[in-house]
């Protein structure tokens, strides 16, 4: 049994990476509570969290920093895992919620919901899910009808995104106050998120994360190609739809409170794949942690870089993500020529 040591090394290696990411996750979360334009001592932060006495520090911690931190961790995890899922389902490394129209579909539905039901915050994540699913299914249909190449799919995603954002703009023109709660919905940002907004979204995201993790074997099979997966007893078509549904829940719920933040779902899965490979179980787990770290970390950076001015985290993500995406495009082009 020469094989056992190697695979157990692999496994403990995965565990080590997961532990490191978990550490980072907690560290970034803590820092995000501690740091900000207003300097608050760590003791006061703790006091603010648990002591009911009403102080300014408590208000800042409880109503500004805590929701923002939770939002960053949650949205990062959700978007990164949604990215992994769509990449497997469409077998396309360039796919991500933001590149195939899932995010913008969610955005349109969220805007519509805010315009029609301005007082009902609970409905927004559900509406966003419906919009995201619409975007995802459209792209899947295009992919299957044309047997689309990687780039065609992304271009189709771009076109769909264009249509959806035109829809958002139309709504904003007629009902300017519909997205009032959002600093800048189309760039994506985490300031102004309230716990009230987070709660329904979290109730969608957390079960969806667990459900995705429980489908890790199925996703592995899907990555072997439709025929091989079916020959192993998987109903590939049903699973595709279910997986796209899950990724739409994840992306839609995230978009419902943080706006159209791009590139998290693209970058994080690629980074994690380098670390742990493509086995879906470890990949999803590391993406959930890594996505939170990246988004919350970038938000912290965006808050501190030009303090007391703040940059919406969506701008920072685009600055980082744009070049990353171009690099991916070039690499996949090269891959096709050499392969």
């Amino acid at each position: 049994m020469k094989s056992l040591p190697t695979s157990s090394i692999q496994r403990s290696n995965h565990n080590f990476i997961v532990l490191c990411l978990l550490g980072l996750f907690l560290a970034v979360g803590t820092l995000s509570l501690l740091l900000g334009p207003e300097s608050i001592a760590p003791g006061q932060v703790l006091q603010g969290l648990f002591d009911p006495a009403d102080t300014i520090a408590r208000r800042i911690v409880l109503y500004v920093r805590l929701p923002r931190t939770l939002a960053g961790l949650l949205a990062g995890a959700a978007l990164a895992c949604a990215g992994v899922i769509v990449q497997v389902v469409l077998s396309n490394p360039l796919a991500a919620p933001s590149t195939i129209g899932v995010n913008s579909g969610a955005g349109l539905a969220a805007a519509l919901c805010c315009a029609l039901l301005p007082t009902n915050l609970t409905a927004v994540p559900f509406a966003a899910f419906a919009g995201a699913f619409l975007g995802a299914v459209t792209v899947l249909a295009i992919a299957q009808r044309t047997g689309a190449s990687r780039l065609t799919l992304v271009l189709a995603g771009l076109a769909i995104s264009g249509i959806f954002s035109a829809g958002v703009d139309t709504i904003l023109t007629f009902v300017p106050e519909s997205l009032n709660g959002y600093s800048d919905f189309r760039i994506g940002g985490l300031d102004g998120v309230s716990l009230k907004q987070l709660k329904p979204a979290a109730l969608l995201i957390l079960p969806a994360l667990l459900a995705s993790l429980s489908l890790h074997n199925e996703l592995d099979l899907l990555a072997l190609g439709q025929e091989q997966a079916q020959a192993l007893g998987l109903s590939a078509k049903k699973l595709r739809l279910a997986a796209l549904g899950l990724s739409s829940v994840l992306a839609g719920a995230a978009v419902s409170f943080c706006g159209l933040i791009g590139f998290v779902g693209l970058m994080v899965p690629h980074i994690m794949r380098r670390l742990v490979g493509e086995e879906s179980g470890p990949l999803l787990l590391t993406c959930a942690l890594g996505g939170g770290v990246v988004l919350c970390g970038c938000d912290l950076l965006a808050r501190l870089l030009f303090a007391p001015y703040e940059l919406p985290v969506g701008i920072l993500m685009s600055l980082l993500g744009g070049p990353f995406f171009i690099w991916l495009l070039l690499r996949s082009r090269g891959g096709r020529h050499s392969g």
Binding site: K2, Q10, A223, A231, G233, E279
Partner: protein, 255 residues
């Protein structure tokens, strides 16, 4: 046992397969031969319900395939696709997924599955690859892992689409030897092959397809003597007796 009766796949005047009837009996290696585009892969896929059929019937252990779930089919017959994707997961995990048809609540592979996966790796002579990532393996090594995955599935019938293509000759012979060992264990092994010599020497039965219909079905001896090979492949197939039995060779047709 997998059996097809009057199988029809495709529409119109030139269907991909028409009126094919044959069975893949246990304990035998069946070679499916024929020129490119004659429907060999389609026959394998249709026998497993991976593509819809337009007429006829597929029976698995006497039951109509249409009444079986994909999972039930996967517990009876394993399939090795022609195009094999190469994810970056470890070989052992890959083989473990051969146990997917048996996965039940709580949706984790059991120790027994791990044991069967390791056994399958050993069978395919790939134990030393277990911890390596698929995308770091050579073509021959990947092929062994895919074979091991099909073995781990522990089915009575194993269908492989071009398992020897792109392999070194030594690996090709290894695949044939493995197919023989499986047949000796009572499995029905079905191979789509391109190499006539490999097929005629290594199989118990030959199913020869051409233009979507079954042109010949019988022992390699029968199919060779019948002369139909020459006609289908547009070559002259000859053989000579050597210490290792018949060796088959092809030469251009005389003008």
């Amino acid at each position: 046992m997998v059996e097809v009766r009057n199988l029809l796949v495709g529409y119109g005047e030139a269907p991909v397969l028409s009126d094919i009837s044959l069975a893949f009996p246990p304990g035998q290696v069946t070679g499916v031969l024929g020129p490119n585009g004659c429907g060999k892969s389609t026959l394998l896929k249709a026998s497993l319900g991976l593509i819809p059929i337009q007429g006829g019937q597929v029976l698995v252990d006497g039951q109509d395939l249409a009444t079986l779930s994909p999972r039930e089919v996967a517990q009876r017959a394993a399939y090795l696709a022609q195009s094999r994707s190469v994810p970056s997961i470890t070989a052992r995990r890959m083989v473990l997924h051969g146990r997917f048809p048996y996965l039940s609540y709580p949706r984790r592979y059991r120790p027994e599955d791990y044991r069967m996966a390791d056994q399958a790796l050993q069978w395919a002579d790939a134990s030393d690859l277990a911890g390596r990532s698929m995308d770091r393996l050579s073509g021959g090594q990947r092929q062994k892992v895919y074979l091991a995955m099909a073995l781990a599935q522990d089915t009575q019938t194993i269908l492989m689409d071009e398992p020897t293509t792109f392999l070194d000759i030594s690996h090709q012979l290894e695949v044939m030897a493995l197919a023989r060992r499986l047949a000796n264990l009572g499995r029905a092994v079905v191979l789509v092959l391109h190499d006539l010599d490999l097929a005629l020497r290594g199989c118990d039965r030959i199913a020869l397809l051409s233009g979507g219909s079954l042109r010949a079905l019988g022992s390699p001896e029968e199919v060779f003597l019948n002369g139909v090979l020459d006609e289908v492949f547009h070559v002259r197939v000859g053989r000579m007796n050597t210490e290792e039995g018949w060796q088959y060779y092809c030469s251009p047709l005389p003008r």
